[in-house]
């Protein structure tokens, strides 16, 4: 138990010290949020609804990013630096190591969600019901699981540089095409039809529904779950192939 708590604490410390995390997951979304709700005139029909909608976009953008990037890159780092091997030789059981990373990651996500929500509430005086705040936060927290699974895929790569490069590009593509930077509705038809099949769109969509007083649709849940299964199977398949080699 002592080892588990200590492991969680250290995992959290490590993420907070990571400058990429602080920049991409906390500063960028807040700056973007400020720009697209206050500086740039978006001619939204309902400004209040747009402000709440875009706050969800940016929070989802932030959490998706740290899910994809932090975990995967750390896996590559630990493997290439011999740390994974060393940990295998200590008495720390694998499941504790793994669950501590998950808990650490979740705490970080809760922190990101809280900080960005607070920023939104302060910058634009967004008023949602407590239930809406809570539900949208919870949706973003749980909906990030498929992206964590995706992160472990990058974690199987050989070099930190490759993993960081590819995951970064994919992160941006998912964010833009999934309607996180600007709503899908204002994009060309072709983009829209691609976007509707991306996990990022359904991740954001659930939160957008909640702040409009609705609930995530079944389609959101089913597609995110399907992606989770695909990523996990793919990860298992690649790992087995790597072990055989």
């Amino acid at each position: 138990m002592k080892a588990f708590q200590m492991q969680c604490k250290m995992e959290i410390k490590r993420v907070l010290r990571n400058r990429y995390f602080v920049f991409w997951s906390l500063m960028m979304p807040i700056i973007f949020y400020y720009i697209f709700t206050n500086v740039v005139n978006t001619n939204a029909a309902d400004p209040a609804a747009w402000k709440a909608h875009y706050l969800m976009s940016m929070t989802a953008f932030s959490v998706m990013g740290s899910s994809i990037m932090t975990l995967g890159i750390r896996m590559v780092q630990e493997r290439t630096q011999g740390w994974s091997t060393f940990i295998r030789l200590t008495p720390l059981p694998d499941h504790i190591y793994f669950s501590a990373q998950m808990v650490g990651q979740s705490v970080i996500h809760i922190l990101s969600i809280t900080v960005i929500f607070l920023a939104g509430a302060i910058i634009n005086r967004i008023s949602l019901t407590p239930m809406e705040w809570f539900m949208s936060g919870l949706w973003i927290l749980l909906g990030s699981i498929p992206f964590l699974a995706m992160g472990t895929l990058f974690g199987l790569m050989k070099k930190v540089e490759t993993a960081a490069g590819i995951s970064n590009v994919l992160y941006m593509v998912l964010a833009v095409c999934g309607g996180m930077w600007m709503p899908l509705e204002i994009m060309p038809k072709a983009m829209q039809s691609i976007g509707h099949w991306l996990p990022s769109y359904h991740f954001g969509s659930g939160a957008w529904e909640i702040v409009q007083g609705g609930l995530p649709s079944w389609k959101n849940i089913v597609i995110l779950f399907a992606y989770l299964v695909v990523f996990m199977l793919l990860s298992k398949y690649i790992r087995r192939k790597q072990e055989a080699a």
């Binding site: 002592k2 080892a3 200590m6 492991q7 250290m10 410390k13 490590r14 993420v15 010290r17 990571n18 750390r74 780092q77 630990e78 630096q81 011999g82 740390w83 091997t85 060393f86 295998r88 030789l89 200590t90 008495p91 720390l92 059981p93």
Partner: protein, 300 residues
Amino acid sequence: MNEILRLENVTKSFKYKTAVNNISFSMKKGEVTAILGPNGAGKTTTISMILGLLKPTTGDIKLFNSQSQELHVRQKIGTMLQEVSVMPGLTINEILVLIRSYYPEPLPLKDLVNLTGLTEQDLKTRTEKLSGGQKRRLNFALALAGNPELMIFDEPTVGMDITSRQRFWQTINTFANQGKTIIFSTHYLQEADDNAQRILLFKDGSIVADGTPQQIKSRISKKAVSFLTDPEKSLEILYHHSEIEQIFRKNNRVYIYSDHTDKILELLFQEKIGAHDIQIESGNLEEAFRQLTSENKEAI
């Protein structure tokens, strides 16, 4: 229950190469053993198998009478691998606190610092900013963190400067005196000789000798008699004597290798070789070791 480690007929084959070929040995509590051999002799493969990082192709390995993966075994061993390992994003102090929390009876942090020569400054440094030497010290501290009964080190002094090296062996000797069991690999005969009570000499994946440093040394070192003589003088007459292992001329000096140097002296006078300026050499140990363990390319 005095036996800490046992390997029985252990073989490890990779696709194109047999790295370790049917080795067996056991270690008793309190023994300090060196695995000595040149690069590629199978030292690291053997250590990786002992630690459970590699699975033997055939054969059986037991630590504390169990498999190495078992928790109670993990709690009793401390290791330092060739590959330097650090956890990015944490300071040395934080890593030590973390790793100590894995073990039931860890060494106090203060002891770890004293034993490994880490400084106050080192403790506050994040791992990504550490120098090679500092990383090595950290890894030594990590190996000791759990106060292990069995310590396993793969080429521990590679990348250490002379001071760290001395300190390392001093610490190891202290632990040896406390009755800890220690096994380390090295390709320096000197290091094995100075610090181990027992040497396992590896060559091409096999153990070619197993004994005290004294035994190993007498086995691998060749004594020689050398002398000057008239270059015209034929030495053929000496060839018939079976005591002589090898005879050759180098820069006018004749060298005769033999375990029985006294007998050789007797022969020299008996056969009236006209030898003068006679020297008896106990043989260069390192040289002999290199010859024994290297490929037999000079066997022509």
